[in-house]
């Protein structure tokens, strides 16, 4: 049988054992909640509450601005304390709504939608849009936009991205172990939007228990199959996942829909399920708090807006001094310098490591060993692209397929000379994209 995979990729230490057997634990926030208005790709949301307003759990506090945007809901009850710039994980100050938590968690009355069978496609998309569902794997792309391709009848596959290829992350794993029904039901709802599509649950084969559970659950579903992918980073990269699961390849300028695919992450599909069946907006997510500095690594079910400090305290605090704290996985996540930031819709993990591999490694000369070429899932030549990027040669960079890089970080990981290949290439890509927008 052909292996479900792609060419290239790396096998870093996966660190999942630290937290994979820790059941999801509900954490109720103690301090103030912070809601950055920009937790998604697209226009920031616009606040619809004012300082001093009383709010309830599930009350909309900021409205979407345009189609590519998403509303934000309060996840606690209390009072709006301020609307001011607050620091977020990227280190930027982003306009945020701050709510003083009254610890009562009084909910608004959610209007339960009609049964799914009676909903039209437009109504389903509307429910998802109103619930503020965005891609919770990290990108934060508004889900209703993804689910509204130009030609929905041409979609052949709805792929559930259950790869979780990032080391250390176990939030999707726990979700699949503890609530696989919600995932399957959510996928079935999305399938309602695409008449000719098949559902594919794409799981890496290092999670055989999930594969078994999902296979059992979907035994009688004609339209859904479970695919075991070879375990390899970046298997969860959208383009490579599509290729592994369907054999269709798209380049950087194409959308999954161009290959007849729609891809959504596990938590996102569960959020769709909650939005469409219960009318509940996206308010919670699972965050893995892990790393060798954490006393009691955990998978927390949190309310969006919870402060990172609280999560670390709840996980028993530090047993070792962390040298680096990463929001997200070690390959794609952001290193943060201030723990006083809120968890957002896209925060999948908080990784605290005592020994930073990057600051202790000194970059030396490239010896042209070709390891980056060997593992590059985008099939470009990272070492040469980084040279061109460092010399500011934009044209040559584009000619050498620089824009086809998916920024997965594999080249920086593998480089024996410890060059910051991904960083150089990424900055150049940003510059070129900015130039293109100017035109």
């Amino acid at each position: 049988m052909a292996k479900f995979t792609f060419r290239g990729g790396i096998h870093p230490y996966d660190g999942k054992d630290i937290s994979k057997d820790k059941p999801i634990k509900v954490y109720e926030p103690k301090g103030d909640m912070v809601y950055p208005l920009s937790q998604h790709i697209g226009a920031p949301a616009v606040p619809i509450v004012q300082k001093g307003d009383a709010v309830l759990v599930g009350q909309k506090i900021a409205d979407a601005q345009g189609f590519v945007s998403a509303p934000i809901y309060s996840t606690v009850s209390g009072t709006v304390k301020a609307i001011e710039p607050r620091r977020v994980i990227t280190g930027d100050n982003v306009m945020s709504i701050v709510i003083e938590n009254d610890h009562e968690f009084k909910e608004v009355e959610f209007t339960k939608p009609k049964p799914v069978e009676q909903l039209t496609k437009e109504e389903i998309i509307k429910l998802i849009q109103d619930a503020g569902v965005v891609g919770m794997g990290g990108a934060g792309f508004p889900t209703h936009v993804k689910l509204s391709p130009k030609e929905p009848e041409k979609i052949d596959y709805v792929i559930a991205n259950c790869a979780e290829c990032e080391p250390y992350l176990t939030s999707d794993y726990r979700r699949m172990i503890e609530e696989p029904e919600k995932l399957v039901e959510g996928l079935k709802i999305i399938l309602r939007l695409f008449d000719h599509a098949r559902g594919v649950l794409a799981v890496e084969d290092n999670k055989p228990d999930c594969i078994e559970k999902l296979r059992k659950l979907t035994e009688n579903e004609d339209r859904i199959s479970v695919v075991a992918l070879q375990t390899k980073y970046p298997q969860g990269s959208e383009r490579h996942l599509i290729f592994a699961a369907t054999g269709r390849a798209i380049n950087s300028s194409m959308l999954p829909a161009d290959a007849g695919c729609v891809v959504n992450n596990v938590d996102t599909i569960v959020a769709v399920y909650h939005a469409v069946t219960q009318g509940r907006p996206l308010m919670n997510r699972i965050v893995t708090v892990t790393g060798d500095c954490i006393k009691d690594p955990c998978n927390f079910f949190i309310r969006v807006g919870t402060n990172y400090h609280e999560l670390i305290d709840e996980a028993g605090g530090f047993i070792k001094e962390p040298e680096k704290v990463v929001s997200g996985g070690p390959m794609m996540g952001f290193a943060i310098f201030d723990l006083d930031v809120p968890a957002t819709k896209t925060s999948s993990a908080l990784l605290c490591i005592s020994k930073d591999a990057v600051s202790s490694a000194e970059a030396t000369a490239c010896i042209n060993c070709g390891r980056c070429v060997e593992i590059c899932p985008g099939r470009v030549i990272p070492s040469r692209l980084a040279d061109l990027a460092e010399n500011g040669q934009k044209e040559a960079f584009e000619k050498m397929n620089g824009m086809e890089c998916c920024e997965c970080g594999s080249c920086s990981y593998i480089c024996p000379a410890k060059r910051q290949l991904t960083q150089s290439i990424k900055s150049m890509r940003r510059m070129i994209l900015a130039d293109r927008r100017k035109k």
Binding site: P12, H240, E323, A335, A357, A365, P377
Partner: protein, 310 residues
């Protein structure tokens, strides 16, 4: 809690391999050939190896000091260069020529072009060719106590018969490290097993050369003539240890096959049609020059641009 956390661009983890590890593995892989050479040719060969490696390492250190750069000796690449050069020298070469070769390899071929990773020519081979041209008499004198006749390839060229078994084991005349096919292949297997080199270049190189010898060798389908050519001279050492030199081979996969084929053809031309018996060093050096061109025409298709199924 620390005052400051480390912040850097992703990814935040790194593979354990470092440049110096790779170079050390290459040195280890060269040990069988080195030890065999010393056993075969005697203690003077060991002294010559030491002097050559020493001069390579020392000249890199001194050069870095002179230009006020941090010393790059620790990356072990000068050791590899010095050792490879030494293995390509006749066993009774005067020590000063070995030392001069080490200096030339490092200073002229490597450091003047910008140091590790910037040289366009294999430093060890560049130095060997420099010595061959400058000190031809010493560099082509392979007579010693153990072997008074010519090297097997020279004998082959002259139409004399050679003992293939001796050539495979390595008990013949020649340069210090090239004689034993077994010892070289042992090291090569180690490098392949450790994922330091792959077989794209060696196989396409040796394969092309073998076909060339069969077609143009003038002996028809003569397997013993072919095996003598494969086991003789610097082919094995060149194909596994010098043609695969990271810095001077193409980085693209297709380019590596092309490069191997090119080297096979050049070596064939030099050995069969050229005046000398040897051709590996020159073939690789000329191949090095063409690498930028090869890379240009073998740029891989990016993912999703039509090249995905290969």
């Amino acid at each position: 809690m620390k005052e400051k956390l480390e912040v850097s661009s992703n990814p935040h983890i790194r593979d354990k391999w470092k440049t110096s590890n790779i170079m050390t593995l290459v040195v280890i892989a060269l040990l069988p050939a080195t030890l065999f050479g010393i056993w075969n040719f005697g203690w003077y060969a060991a002294l010559l190896i030491l002097v050559t490696v020493g001069s390579a390492v020392l000249s890199e250190y001194v050069f870095c000091r002179i230009i006020h750069k941090k010393s790059t000796v620790k990356d072990m690449s000068a050791v590899v260069t010095g050792l490879l050069l030494a293995l390509n020298l006749p066993p009774h070469l005067p020590l000063w020529i070995g030392a001069l070769g080490g200096i030339f390899a490092i200073v002229v071929v490597k450091m003047l072009f910008g140091g590790l990773g910037q040289n366009f020519m294999n430093p060890a081979l560049g130095a060997r060719c420099f010595l061959l041209i400058s000190f031809a008499r010493y560099m082509t004198d392979f007579t010693c106590d153990a072997y008074t006749q010519a090297t097997p390839l020279t004998a082959l060229k002259a139409g004399e018969s050679v003992d293939i078994l001796d050539m495979v084991i390595g008990t013949t005349g020649g340069t210090i490290g090239e004689t034993s096919m077994i010892a070289i292949l042992l090291g090569a297997c180690f490098l392949v097993a450790m994922d330091v080199i792959d077989l794209r270049i060696p196989l396409s190189y040796i394969g092309t050369f073998a076909v060339f010898v069969l077609v143009f060798g003038g002996k028809g389908f003569d397997l013993s003539f072919l095996s003598a050519h494969l086991a003789g001279g610097g082919l094995m050492l060149g194909a596994f240890f010098m043609a695969t030199d990271y810095v001077t081979r193409p980085i693209t996969k297709k380019g590596q096959y092309l490069y191997g084929i090119l080297l096979g053809l050049l070596t064939g031309v030099f050995r069969i049609f050229g005046p000398g018996a040897e051709g590996v060093s020159y073939a690789i050096i000329i191949g090095n020059m063409i690498v930028p061109l090869i890379e240009k025409i073998t740029l891989p298709k990016a993912f999703g641009k039509g090249g995905e199924r290969s």
